[in-house]
Amino acid sequence: MGAIKISYLSLFFYLLLIALPILLLLHLRIRLVKSVLIAVLRMVVQLGFVALYLETIFRWNLPWVNFLYILIMIAVANQAILRQSGLRFGVFFLSTLPAYLAAVLFSFLTFFIVLDVETFVSARYIIPIGGMILGNILRGNIISLDRLTHALVKRKDEYIYYLSLGASRREALKPFMAESMKAAIAPYIATVSTMGLVSLPGMMTGQILGGASPAVAIQYQIMIMVAIFVTSSLSIYLSMWFSMRVAFDDCDRLRPSIFLPDGSGR
């Protein structure tokens, strides 16, 4: 049994429900109506395109195309993480890319414990699972890189203190990285521990709607949550180390040019 199809007309009428929050915004004179309309329009157009090219990729079902697609997703995720962390793309892109590649590749290899190779590399598995993992590692990596670079600017004296007591750059960075990692991992722990109580995740809901039994959906959900947690932790750790290799000059001074000119005073 598959998911029951929704007609385009019904979907159109459902979209009209957006008028309700818009009316609330108008009533409270909050100038967000334009932003809401643009966001909804973008969502519809973006998802429309996704449907079109995923239909094609699923039809082709070529492993190299699937991997190429995953590579593009990793590159886009890397770019989004750097932008949201206020860091320059040109400085970091090539140094953080291997961190995400390594973390995702490791996570894919772990799937072979539970799925056979042929099933996993098929477009219907690898692309949604890859997308779900990448979508979920964004938040943690943004928090960690933002926290780390921000702390190094705000608490420059502490960093200098470690160096001036004989710490190498690596040793001096360790307390800052531990703090950033802790802050970045905390939301994942909360999500994992409240899973099923506070939220029924999208993948599980989708599988149940698609006709899978709740028991099977839960098995997949446990697998994906472990994959997200492992990939997030690994990517956060690696991206912090890899990014720090290019963030300093030869004298262990944080280079001011690593930050985007965002007016935050950093």
Binding site: R155, D157, E158, I160, Y161, L163, S164, L165, G166, A167, S168, E171, D249, D250, C251, D252, R253
Partner: protein
């Protein structure tokens, strides 16, 4: 021992330290003085390459650059005027630098630690107290103790006794300057430092005043 040649620091188009040249002898106790904002702290940070600068620094007749910077820094302890915040106990903080690779050959001397605790006027329970719970003066004295335990050939201090009372300033300055082999470069306006210094250098608007360098 340390020769600074034509050192200048510019930040955001503004010259903070301008063409400073000075030499510090082995074992010398050198005091830097000058009005607030005249570039003393920036000069000290530049000395350890924590600030980008133009000019040169020589250590024991060898020019310091990125190839030997780590070795140079490993012979110097530096305490800036802004003290970091830590959530660890005073004793854990004292042990921390001895875990760094560069200091692995040093072991904190327990007898010396006890002697310094007494000399710096600490009471018995201080080591178990969290650094965050110490007063400003206690924090300064604890970090001085840490530097003295590390016992590097050069110690650089920036207003490190500013939160101490007269008695504790005298005790701290006495301990810092007691070893004739230790080279000390300090920024302070306190009379105790002046009395203990072999030489006083005056700075104004980023420059060393004539006749004091």
């Amino acid at each position: 021992m340390i020769d600074v040649g034509h050192l200048s620091v510019t930040k955001g188009g503004k010259t903070i330290v301008s063409d400073v040249s000075l030499s510090v002898r082995e074992g010398e106790k050198l005091l830097l003085r000058g009005p607030s904002g005249c570039g003393k702290s920036t000069l000290l940070r530049a000395l350890l390459f924590f600030e980008p600068f133009r000019g040169s620094i020589r250590f024991r007749n060898e020019t310091v650059d990125r190839t030997n910077l780590a070795a140079f820094r490993s012979r110097i302890s530096f305490l800036g005027q802004t003290l970091p915040q830590f959530q660890v106990s005073a004793d854990e903080l004292l042990q921390m630098p001895f875990r760094y690779r560069a200091n692995r050959d040093h072991r904190p001397d327990e007898a010396e630690k006890q002697r310094l605790l007494e000399a710096l006027n600490f009471n018995g329970g201080i080591l178990e107290t969290s650094f965050a719970d110490l007063s400003g003066g206690e924090r300064q004295r604890l970090l001085i103790l840490q530097v003295l335990l590390l016992n590097k050939p050069v110690a650089v201090f920036d207003e490190i006794t500013s939160a101490l009372d007269r008695k504790n300033i005298a005790g701290a300055v006495r301990e810092i300057t007691a070893d004739p082999r230790r080279t000390v470069i300090a920024v302070s306006h306190q009379a105790e430092w002046e009395a203990a210094a072999d030489r006083v250098i005056e700075m104004e608007e980023g420059r060393v005043l004539e006749g004091t360098g």
